[in-house]
């Protein structure tokens, strides 16, 4: 009954795959030691145990806990000394704002009597209950605008790079190599480093931010778009080429419809990434929420930092939801 079957059926996991997996594990073990993965696991484990009340103390949990504790309560209101507000009109307060007066006793040396005298100083403050939240929102909007224009520049540079860099549409192999190299170069310069140089060239503000994000993500889009174009089903292209259609017609009718969902997903991801990186490059003075974050962090105003971090989180979450819907619509 068990007649010998002469055919050999290949197993999905063969000796070569196993050898590759073993080599990968060896590499992870070796590099893990160099980057102190063992210590990271020990310290993190201690922190978790300390939180659960099993271990006594944890250096990591203590350090992280005290910093995080300072982030709350988050700062929503803004308080400004009225004496320093130019052209202040008490009859025309901003919406929801009110004035608070604070009294402080000040001890001063009287130059005439050469005695220390105490006196009461009254300071009037303009308090806007959501003033700081609005300020953060305005800065966040600036970051979104920087990210938007960074992404627009990335698409405008990335698409031609991809059309030159994709093997199946490039007019010449030399152009392909050049375009791939240009994409790699743009990707190789991190936004933060590019922003440092661009701030020197263009000064503090959003121009440096827009260019830093745009150039770096153009390198990404140039590569991703090109890879998508190279992966398309070649048959519609071949059919049109056989019937003498021009290069642009083939791209527009046989390639673009196939790659559009991937192009849109990549572009949305680039925008999402640019919003996050827009917050980072603000640290070196390239405008937006990052500049505000750096200023508050340096002044140890962690309540303000908490507000900024929550604002960034909410924006990223919203963008993710919008991007997800957009991808669904273009599937």
């Amino acid at each position: 009954m068990n007649a010998d079957i002469p055919w050999r059926f290949p197993a999905p996991l063969n000796a070569r795959t196993v050898a590759l997996l073993a080599a990968a594990l060896l590499l992870l073990w070796y590099t893990g030691q160099r980057v102190e993965i063992g210590r990271m696991l020990t310290l993190s484990g201690e922190a978790v145990l300390a939180q659960a009340g099993i271990a006594d103390r944890s250096q990591v949990a203590d350090g992280l806990g005290s910093t995080l504790a300072e982030l709350v309560p988050i700062q929503l209101s803004a308080r400004r000394e009225i004496g320093r507000i130019e052209g202040f009109d008490p009859n025309r307060l901003p919406p929801f704002a009110h004035i608070e007066t604070a009294e402080t006793r000040v001890s001063e040396l009287n130059p005439e009597t050469l005695r220390r005298e105490e006196r009461v100083v009254r300071t009037a403050w303009l308090v806007e209950p959501f003033g700081y939240a609005f300020h953060v929102a305005a800065k966040m909007l600036e970051t979104l605008e920087i990210a938007l224009w960074g992404s627009v520049i990335a698409v405008l540079i990335g698409l031609p790079l991809a059309l030159l860099g994709a093997r199946n549409v490039t007019p010449h192999p030399v152009l392909r190599t050049g375009s791939r190299a240009a994409s790699a170069f743009l990707r190789a310069v991190p936004e933060l480093i590019a922003a440092l140089f661009l701030v020197i060239a263009f000064g503090f503000g959003p121009i440096a931010g827009v260019l830093a994000l745009g150039l770096h993500s153009a390198g990404f889009l140039g590569k991703f778009y090109a890879d998508d174009i190279e992966d398309v089903d070649p048959r519609p292209q071949q059919a049109l080429a056989a019937m003498g259609a021009g290069r642009l017609t083939i791209w527009g009718n046989a390639i673009l419809p196939q790659v559009l969902p991937q192009h849109i997903a990549c572009t949305l991801y680039t925008f999402d990434r640019n919003v996050r990186m827009g917050a980072v490059i603000g640290l070196v003075g390239a405008g937006g929420i990052g500049q505000e974050l750096k200023g508050r962090f340096d002044m140890y105003e962690y309540g303000h930092v908490g507000t900024i971090l929550i604002a960034i989180f909410l924006v990223i979450l919203t963008l993710d939801l919008v991007a997800s819907r957009a991808r669904q619509a273009w599937r």
């Binding site: 519609p236 049109l240 056989a242 259609a245 642009l248 017609t249 527009g252 419809p257």
Partner: protein, 241 residues
Amino acid sequence: MIDIGIADLCVRHDGGDQALADVTLYIPAGQFCAVLGASGAGKSTLLRAVAGLVTPSEGRILFNGTPLSHAQHRRIGLIPQDFALSGRASVARNMMAVADIGLARSFAGLYPHADRARAAHLLAGLALDETHLVRRADSLSGGQQQRVAIARALLHRPAVILADEPVASLDPATGEATLALIRDEARGLGATLLCSLHQPELARRFADRIIMLDAGRVIFDGTPAMLDGIGIPPRIRAVAR
């Protein structure tokens, strides 16, 4: 009017298999030439080589005595076996891509009146209507996609029609009507029609000439009447069933 000359054509696949071996044919302008053969006999390779999509390892293909130029590509109408439509694009966009009117006009849907009239005429002849124009090609059935591919190939009034099993996805009645439409269009245009088929009976009824391929070689080249005398080789008949 374009005639096709094929001299000592050899095509090897990437793996080194011989797909076509020493194929020499002359197809006069305006002739309906059916190519029969079992699966893997080389029918599609022959059509793809004539369309310029496969580079021969040896031999030449000449259109009116000259190698295929870009201008002559514009006079080819290709019906690929797998339809080769852009799945995510509408039927209208797939059809009009062949009109090659420029990207801006094409994206704006500014198709010339003559092209729109021709597309409507062809689609109606293939039992498709206006509602199909807006539908994505990948939302159509296999048979509908095949008919769109046929209409696309005929849109620009080609002088050479290369049809790779153009009725394979259609039921017998629709297949017959569709093949009749292709033949009539080709006659009307004075086009040379090279058409691979799996149905010997259709080839006998419609074609002016029948070529049979087996393992990349021509084993029969004659009129349907000549075939009546010697019969269809059993291997091809078996596949046709």
